[in-house]
């Protein structure tokens, strides 16, 4: 579990994130949503220690990460896997070498054992035939899957995904979402995902935090989000007329089914 307690962060006099508090639960997909520039990536980078917080604390299972020295943070960092928005694959290494790199650096396993682990992770993300390809030779969706394989190769307790669906078609996005959800449940990981994709929210969002201009505006589950009274959240979710119409039709359907005594479908 990760606890964010009154965290604030600014750059050059501008406060980007103000007194944000939240809990990220283990075994669940915790989503941080908001428009571009709302502070989602800053919050995530504060949580993994890429940015130093100005005020507040971040606790990993009760341990104060923000008060740790760089050396102490290494212990927590070895339990973290991260999928970056641009995947951040090492472009001079093949897919196999990318996934094996954390094992080479931190694991005492033999080469055969490492290969078995690499093969397991690549199989898990459905990438059996790309071992010897370079990142420039594979598609965006495949790169994301390699990124996920590399993030989970050391059996992390915490998985961070920064906009995992950016640049992907709807079908690939769905595949990535499902993969992240399955891995979260299978390995009981605390997963934190930054996204502004409502499809992801409704597919895999167990616990959702909405940020607006660096302030937490709303927190809840995907069942609560559609009927939230928060104006800013509603404006964010139903930005398109199509989705507004869908919401109204849904509400109408629920009312009609209530009147007729039938439960709504879905």
């Amino acid at each position: 579990m990760i606890e964010v307690i009154n965290v604030s962060k600014g750059f050059g006099g501008n406060t980007v994130m103000k007194e944000v508090s939240a809990v990220m639960y283990s075994g669940k997909t915790n989503l941080i949503i908001g428009t571009s520039g709302s502070g989602k990536t800053v919050l995530m980078k504060c949580m993994v220690g890429l940015f130093e917080v100005d005020t507040g604390r971040i606790l990993y299972n009760g341990q104060d990460f923000t008060a740790m020295t760089d050396r102490e943070k290494k212990g927590i960092r070895e339990q973290i896997g991260m999928l970056f928005q641009g995947t951040a694959l090492f472009d001079s290494m093949t897919v196999k070498q990318n996934v094996m790199f954390p094992l080479d650096m931190f694991s005492p396993l033999s080469y055969k054992e490492k290969m078995n682990r690499v093969n397991f992770c690549l199989d898990r993300v459905n990438l059996q035939d790309a071992h010897n390809k370079y990142p420039a030779e594979i598609s965006g969706g495949m790169k994301k899957r390699v990124g996920i394989a590399r993030a989970i190769v050391l059996n992390p307790r915490y998985l961070f995904c920064d906009e995992p669906n950016s640049g992907l078609d709807p079908q690939s996005s769905l595949l990535i979402d499902k993969l992240i959800k399955e891995i979260t449940l299978e390995f009981d990981i605390t997963t934190v995902i930054n996204t502004h994709d409502m499809n992801s929210v409704m597919e895999i969002g167990d616990h959702i935090i909405y940020l607006y201009e660096g302030i937490k505006q709303w927190e809840g589950t995907k069942k609560d989000i559609i009927f939230s009274k928060n104006e800013k959240l509603n404006h964010f979710i139903f930005a398109s007329e199509f989705l507004q119409d869908a919401k109204e039709m849904r509400q109408l359907e629920i009312m009609q089914n209530k009147d007729s005594g039938n439960p709504p479908i879905g």
Binding site: V48, G49, L50, D70, R71, K73, K74, G75, R77, E78, I80, M82, F84, Q85, G86, A88, L89, F90, D91, F101, P102, D104, M105, F106, F160
Partner: protein, 245 residues
């Protein structure tokens, strides 16, 4: 701004020194950099030094118009010019462009594509893993390239003298061993170690601290080369003033 950058540079150098997460991986990266910096630059160093030696011979002969000055003076001048200045300084200025731009653009690209962040999150000290091997490889390989440049420059001078009919090879060889001061070689090595450190650390600094995109990577690479060249020239004068008095 200068003090801010200088402070950042010193912090980068300080941050390099921590216990490696895996010594074998660090050694592998160091060897990889030795090959990239050494083998990758060998061709250009050979070509430059051959022609530097040849041109120095021809131009020295052109200037020695008095028949009272023995021809062995030509090879003495070529030897000392190459060892004292052309091999360490000229070759390192060229290497600042070749190696310096390579280091800064590689690190800049890694910074912009978040590869450095990915390494940090894995728990790796990126200054130790990415920067230190480059500096150590430069300190090992660049003096060797300067030594190769010195020998090839002298050979280039010998061949140029023979082809142009300026000086016979025997006379050239005779002049090479006359009044030879071994301190010159020591001085050349001091210069090459100093320049190697400047080239690698300044280029690594600019690449490591890039912010932005492709344009900023290009700017960082150009700035790294320009700053390295200026610092090399300053250090060249400083070392000459201190050590050759």
């Amino acid at each position: 701004m200068f003090f801010f950058r200088f402070g950042q540079y010193l912090l980068m150098l300080k941050g390099m020194f921590s216990r490696p997460e895996n010594l074998k991986m660090y050694w592998k990266e160091f060897m990889h950099q030795c090959v990239e910096i050494g083998i990758g630059s060998l061709g250009i160093v050979m070509i430059i030094s051959l022609f530097l030696g040849g041109v120095t011979t021809v131009q020295t002969a052109y200037q020695l118009i008095s028949p009272w000055i023995p021809k062995t003076t030509i090879s003495m001048v070529v030897r000392d010019t190459l060892i004292l200045e052309l091999a360490p300084t000229m070759v390192c200025i060229v290497l600042a462009g070749v190696i310096g731009s390579k280091i800064s653009s590689e690190l800049g690209n890694m910074r912009v594509s978040e590869q450095i962040d990915a390494l940090e999150i894995m728990g790796i000290n990126t200054r130790g893993y990415l920067v230190l091997p480059k500096i150590l490889a430069a300190l090992l390989v660049i003096p060797l390239l300067v030594i190769i440049a010195g020998f090839l420059g002298i050979w280039g001078g010998l061949e140029a003298g023979k082809m142009a009919g300026i000086i016979a090879p025997q006379q050239f060889m005779q002049g090479l061993v006359m009044n030879f001061n071994s301190f010159n070689v020591f001085f050349a090595l001091i210069k090459s170690y100093t320049f190697a450190f400047i080239i690698s650390s300044v280029s690594a600094y600019y690449g490591y601290h890039v912010k932005g995109g492709a344009l900023e990577i290009g700017r960082a690479s150009t700035t790294a080369v320009v700053v390295s060249c200026i610092l090399i020239l300053f250090a060249d004068y400083g070392l000459a003033a201190i050590l050759l008095q």
